[in-house]
């Protein structure tokens, strides 16, 4: 784990990082100082500050945080704050890093968010098998209670380990005692969420940014990044680099500079996946043209999403890698919406048949059609994300897919997978 030392003003979020230090709260306060008291920074002032900073959600959707704060403030009822630390994306590790090593930054952000929307209660949600996150949060909350840091009452919530677990409405459903499935409702969680109360759900990294903005101001925040995408970003980089890990970069950094910060490539590059398993594949030849901002990536039909990036080595088979992820995503549908259940499964089966060299004649035409038809026809973005992931794979690795369709598995198909797939577990009905 490291930061881009070439950019001045970094690290920000990761500046107090020092692994295994027990006295986290002391170190946190030594590094950043106490939170501004309410008389210095009241609810209205927080919202205005966030608005000026341009902070956007870091969970994937990049929604303006100030807009969300205002929506919850305007809603009727006693609001509640939910810290989304689920990070269901298998290759993303940045939220777990924050929650394990810098929990006070996230909890400060939650305290400020609660102040901003008038909530007395905050729920910190994480995925159930992650005991390191749970231990870290329990210690951090107990230290904060002893030091009387918070006006907000904090509780922990262990969410299911499912790909869709952190989806906003699926998370609300679980906290309300229901299944880890998205819901289709006319109202948003900001109006009616946990216990039918107005609910502010923010990603852990977003809240960590809020903790810094409250202390150092919006102008300081905008010293890094671009007009539309201010501040720094945490990215999880895995694959063919010397030092995989979580990196803090300035929005707009060239992809090549990120690779350099990670000690450079560890071998020939076969392609790059940007934005995790709902993301976009790009050809290796394009690396020099890619800038890590949503504006820059839009030119390549890509987005940062959850910030997970894979440098796929040339030695890996992109077809086998894509098929494995497609099968995983097909098994991770919530099982509620017909087009998603049938569509994702048909895509996965057809891709598998191509990889095996046993594809029907219509395979590629079918995949193109499903990629067109599927998006927007589920209660959440699962079908959209998978369709995009597969469509960009077919485009980027067209010749490899064609080879497999003609000749079957290649020599690299059986190689160990680069794209991590969580172990199969029984699907809850």
């Amino acid at each position: 784990m490291a930061t881009l030392a070439t950019t001045t003003g970094l690290p920000r979020l990761l500046s107090a990082l020092s692994y295994g230090d027990a006295a986290q709260l002391d170190r946190h306060l030594d590094t950043h100082g106490p939170l501004p008291a309410e008389r210095e920074l009241d609810a209205r002032a927080i919202v205005e500050l966030v608005d000026r900073s341009g902070l956007r959600g870091r969970g994937g959707a990049a929604f303006p945080t100030a807009t969300k704060l205002r929506a919850v403030r305007a809603a009727r009822g006693q609001p509640v704050v939910v810290v989304n630390g689920c990070e269901s994306e298998p290759i993303s590790a940045k939220d777990a890093l924050l929650l394990c090593e810098l929990p006070h930054l996230v909890l400060d952000g939650a305290e400020l968010a609660a102040r901003a929307v008038g909530a007395r209660e905050a729920i910190v949600a994480f995925e159930v098998p992650n005991t390191a996150v749970r231990d870290s949060l329990e210690t951090a909350l107990s230290d904060r209670r002893a030091a009387r840091v918070d006006a907000t009452r904090f509780s922990l919530f262990a969410a299911e380990e499912r790909f869709l677990s952190g989806q906003e409405t699926a998370l609300v459903s679980q906290i309300n005692g229901g299944p880890a499935r998205p819901t289709f409702v006319g109202t948003r969680p900001t109006d009616r969420g946990v216990g039918r109360r107005p609910t502010l759900i923010q990603n852990a990294e977003t809240l960590a940014n809020l903790a810094l903005i409250a202390r150092y101001g919006s102008e300081w925040y905008r010293e890094l990044g671009t007009e539309a995408e201010s501040g720094s970003r945490l990215l999880t980089l895995v694959g063919a680099v010397e030092q995989p890990g979580v990196y803090e970069i300035e929005c707009g950094t060239p992809l090549g500079a990120l690779f350099e910060a990670a000690g450079g490539l560890s071998g020939e590059l076969g392609g790059v996946l940007i934005g995790g398993y709902f993301g976009s594949w790009l050809p290796a030849a394009r690396v020099g043209q890619v800038e890590l901002s949503n504006a820059g990536l839009a030119r390549h039909d890509a987005a940062l999403g959850c910030g997970a990036i894979v440098a796929l080595p040339d030695s890996a088979c992109p077809v086998a890698e894509t098929v494995r992820v497609a099968i995983y995503l097909a098994t991770e549908t919530a099982g509620q919406c017909g087009p998603c259940v049938h569509g994702t499964s048909a895509i996965a089966r057809t891709l598998h048949s191509i990889a095996e060299g046993k594809a029907p004649r219509t395979a590629f035409a079918d995949l193109d059609r499903w990629a067109q038809e599927l998006p927007g026809r589920g209660a959440c973005h699962h079908p959209n994300g998978m369709a995009h992931f597969v469509a960009t794979a077919l485009k980027t690795f067209a010749s490899q897919f064609d080879d497999h369709a003609r000749h079957g598995p290649c020599g690299a198909c059986a190689a160990e997978s680069v794209l991590e797939i969580p172990v199969a577990r029984p699907v809850r009905s």
Binding site: F184, C337, G338, P339, H342, R377
Partner: protein, 65 residues
């Protein structure tokens, strides 16, 4: 203006909507509706209303846009 939306959780592919409003609704290979995007022209509004009323799971929604 009126737009059609499907509640994808409620829809179980009865397919009546596509029979009543083929001008705007097609079915995919599993029988689930694919809705033509955009507002419904005035002359089709009555048919759209009939399609929504006919849906056995009440999953076809007409919304003012």
């Amino acid at each position: 203006m009126t737009a059609i939306r499907v509640n994808p959780i409620g829809c179980v592919a009865h397919g009546l909507c596509a029979e009543i409003l083929p001008e705007r609704i097609a079915l995919d290979e599993w029988g689930y509706p694919i809705i033509e995007p955009g507002s419904i022209p005035a002359e089709l509004e009555a048919h759209a209303r009939r399609a929504a009323d006919a849906c056995p799971t009440l999953a076809l929604l007409l919304e003012r846009d």
